[in-house]
């Protein structure tokens, strides 16, 4: 018997996660985007630390006026864009990304617990991995290579199953439809190939 949640539970839960994320953060759910943001931060490719939040906001408004020829001085400040609010917004990303990643891990535990398989194990018990390799080291290597390929593919496609599959499809983005078709069809073909070869 499968330990996966039935689709009529899983699908609404996924939809709820996407919607809550949008309501709370006003951002599309994008797991690979979070990874990218963390890597960018580690590389130092992030918001300039040389200026205070107030200076950053003022510099941006000045640059917008000078570069694009628009007049902003008479516009009211955007909702929630007080200096206190901007400080929290600008300081949040690193913590926010880490909390998000922690939530993914915690979600896995919750899912396993709800599914009645909550025992923690460091062994790989997949029924599919032995098709590729029988050795534990080989299993870890296969997962590592798979992870690298997934990372490469998601960067190349500009998104992953959450960004393209959940958010992009629901917004009817053609690029997301193409990306989702590509990675799902590749998955199906790979499964069939493994079935034939092993």
């Amino acid at each position: 018997m499968s330990s996966y949640w039935p689709f009529w539970v899983g699908a609404p839960v996924l939809a709820a996660v996407v919607l809550v994320h949008w309501v709370v953060r006003r951002r599309m759910l994008a797991v690979s985007g979070r990874y990218t943001a963390i890597v960018n931060r580690l590389r130092g490719d992030d918001v300039a630390p040389q200026m205070s939040m107030k200076e950053l906001v003022e510099a941006m408004r000045a640059a917008t006026e000078e570069s694009l020829g628009v007049e902003l001085s008479n516009e009211p400040p955007p909702p929630g864009a007080s200096i206190a609010a901007t400080s929290s917004v600008m300081a949040a990303p690193a913590r926010e990304h880490l909390v998000f990643m922690g939530g993914l891990v915690a979600g896995g535990f919750v899912g396993a617990w709800v599914g009645g398989t909550g025992a923690i194990t460091w062994l790989l018990h997949s029924t599919e991995l032995p098709r590729i390799t029988a050795s534990p080291t080989g299993s870890v290597l296969a997962l590592f290579v798979g992870g690298v390929l997934v990372g490469f593919g998601t960067r190349m496609a500009g998104g992953c199953t959450s960004g393209h599959g959940l958010c992009g499809l629901s917004r009817w983005r053609h690029a997301s439809i193409g990306a989702t078709m590509a990675f799902f069809s590749t998955g199906v073909l790979t499964a069939y190939a493994l079935e034939l070869l092993t």
Partner: protein
């Protein structure tokens, strides 16, 4: 719908985009670069070339500097 197809693929993880939002200039930059003509964005161009994107690089190629307001 057609407009969404032109969204910049980095719109969810661009650090500059956060600054657009909090400075109240989001809509202006978004319309000029992030949605319609993101291939002209200097940040996007550098990213496509595999180079590190300077943190203070604006989409029009200028660098963000302290303003006089």
């Amino acid at each position: 719908m057609a407009k969404d197809d032109k969204d910049c693929p980095h719109i969810t993880d661009c650090p500059m985009f956060t600054l657009f939002r909090v400075s109240g200039t989001e809509e202006i930059w978004k319309v000029r670069y992030c949605l319609d003509e993101y291939e002209k964005c200097a940040r996007h161009e550098l990213n496509q070339q595999g180079q590190i994107v300077p943190i203070d690089l604006l989409p029009n190629g200028r660098l963000l500097r302290k303003g006089r307001r």
